[in-house]
């Protein structure tokens, strides 16, 4: 124990309260976080807010937004409530966005940390693997994977994770490479700690700030990918999602363009909030950048 007192401190411990305060001072970040929390609450409450199946006909078709206060966002060609679709669609977008991110980030973290920490042969091999996965255009690979595995919510999640993990892997590899020779890591090694403990307890906490920032942006990416897939019809036909609503509205652009516009606005706001959140987290967790402004 007395030995541990002398070891150089890992730098991350000191920064948490400062980062939190910096984040709270950024209005764009706080508003974005608030928006996302409300969206979450709405998505969770969807069965209470709109207990009807959002795919069922509830009113006269082609009601424009504002025409009937009971259906503030209007109805589509089959008389389905657009507002109900938007709320239920949020469930899918958030579910896919966060699950795909979690899966992809985990995979990327494992591969990237091993490559960065061990270097040498391990690194050579893993870098080649990352490169191979990064070569095919992400979205084309995504379409192929979903088409082959047959579209469903879970295949979409897995496929998005499969095409996005290299981003995290590269980032974490760079972080681990930079951190592995730092004093506190060398000290931990000197104390005889095993690789697993050093990776998880010493290096990982210090590699977290960039990982958190990337995660936020990756949720945004995953939501955009999911919406594009379901716009193309590559999603579970039995669930409403923002992308599929836009796809359905596409045939009616001439007469009822709001059917495509409304769910699109939902996507834009959500993704914008996630990007702004990512920027705010970056400024808060990465003082070099925020100080240079």
């Amino acid at each position: 124990m007395s030995l541990a007192l002398d070891t150089p401190a890992s730098p991350v411990a000191a920064m948490r309260p400062r980062a939190l305060r910096a984040f709270l001072r950024n209005p764009a970040g706080v508003i974005s976080l608030g928006f996302l929390l409300v969206l979450f609450a709405m998505a969770l409450a969807a069965p209470t807010l709109y207990p009807e199946d959002p795919l069922s006909m509830v009113a006269r078709p082609f009601l424009w937004p504002g025409q009937n206060p009971a259906y503030p966002l209007g109805t589509d060609s089959l008389g389905r409530d657009v507002a109900a679709g938007v709320v239920w669609g949020a469930r899918i977008s958030l579910l896919v966005g966060f699950s795909a991110m979690a899966l992809g980030v985990t995979l990327g973290l494992v591969v990237g940390s091993l490559a960065g920490y061990f270097g040498g042969r391990v690194d050579d091999v893993l870098v080649k693997v990352i490169e191979i996965f990064q070569t095919p255009p992400n979205f084309v690979l995504l379409v192929v994977l979903v088409a082959i595995a047959q579209p469903s919510v879970s295949t979409v999640i897995f496929a998005i994770a499969a095409v996005t993990w290299p981003t995290t892997a590269r980032l974490m590899r760079a972080e681990f490479r930079a951190l592995r020779s730092k004093d506190f890591v060398v000290a931990a090694r000197g104390l005889g700690y095993g690789h697993a403990r050093i990776i998880v307890r010493e290096i990982l906490p210090n590699a977290l700030p960039p990982l958190i920032v990337t995660s936020s942006v990756l949720v945004a990416t995953a939501i955009l990918m999911e919406s594009a897939l379901s716009f193309l019809g590559l999603s579970d036909p039995n669930v409403v999602s923002w992308g599929s609503m836009i796809g359905a509205g596409r045939e009616l652009l001439r007469t009822a363009w709001f059917l495509s516009a409304v769910p699109g606005v939902a996507i834009v706001l959500t993704v914008l909030a996630l990007n702004l959140l990512g920027d705010a987290l970056n400024d808060a967790l990465n003082p070099r950048v925020s100080g240079a402004r």
Partner: protein, 357 residues
Amino acid sequence: MAGLRAIGLRNRPAAGTVCRFPEDPGPCLMTTAERIFKSLRRNGLAAIPTVLVIVVLNFFLLKLAPGDAADVMAGESGAATEELMRQLRARFGLDLPVLGQLQAYLGGLAQGSLGFSPRYNMPVTDLILQRLPRTLTLMGFSLSIAIALGLLAGTVMALNAGRWPDRVLSVLTLLLYSVPGFWIGLMLIVLFSIKLGWLPSGGSETIASGRTGFDLFVDRLRHMILPALTLALFYVAVYARLTRAAVMEVAEQDYVRTARAKGLSAFAVGSRHVLRNALLPVTTLAGMHIGGILGGAVVVETVYSWPGLGRLAFEAVLRRDYNVLLGVLLLSSVLVILANMIVDMLQAWLDPRIEVR
């Protein structure tokens, strides 16, 4: 290639001489053309194993796909006997063991064959090559738009850093980052085709209009504007942000002060000294985004019924034509590798400090 050679012709060195670094008193003997050539050779070699692995993965993905070409054809014809199925499988080599099939696949590839599309009733390679030029044109046009607008916006932002033009453009770029391409495509159709009637909403040219020459060119250009813009918008934001950072960094460099000390005008300093250097990181990024633009083309070509590779991929999904789908995947991977090689060459040309080992 003639252009590339011309760049280096001014000062061709004696063969077999090498450059040392950096206190070498002798004159530099590596010309632009040599730098470009070396970068090409190194990247070409590095790409070979990557391509091979992708080809093999491609093959196994094809095997994972539900049903094979024989199933598709049988489904097409409605009634299929066991006997017919067996014959079809034998014809496509589908009765061989997996390794045998891989061998056949590789053998076919070596001859440029990606298999046969039962749905289109033609070889996949022909089908893809038919669609490729349209996609390349669209990508080239939209990349040009993205780079031009991005450089412009980024420069304006950097020159006004912290003031209102910077703030407005920053918000705008962040917004462009967050807009799905297919949705902005639809909204542009609503505005420019349906409401204003200025531009066509789909296709690559007016069908059976009998246009020729310049008229045809204008017609095609008009068809390309909306899809290219749609595809470009996200990258406008990317390049604008990057250019802003790069210009601000380069403007601080000592050599910019030297240029001003010569008495050059702000424009000459900006274009000859600042932008020239700020272009280096932008070029790197442009190369990295080729894959993204290709992926975006799937959606945008579908929205605008643009008869290119992306739309072909979409049609292949609808028709469960996996030979075609995986052909597109393979070809687009190769395109990405080629694009990266081109970017490396471009960098070797733009940045004399890159000395390829």
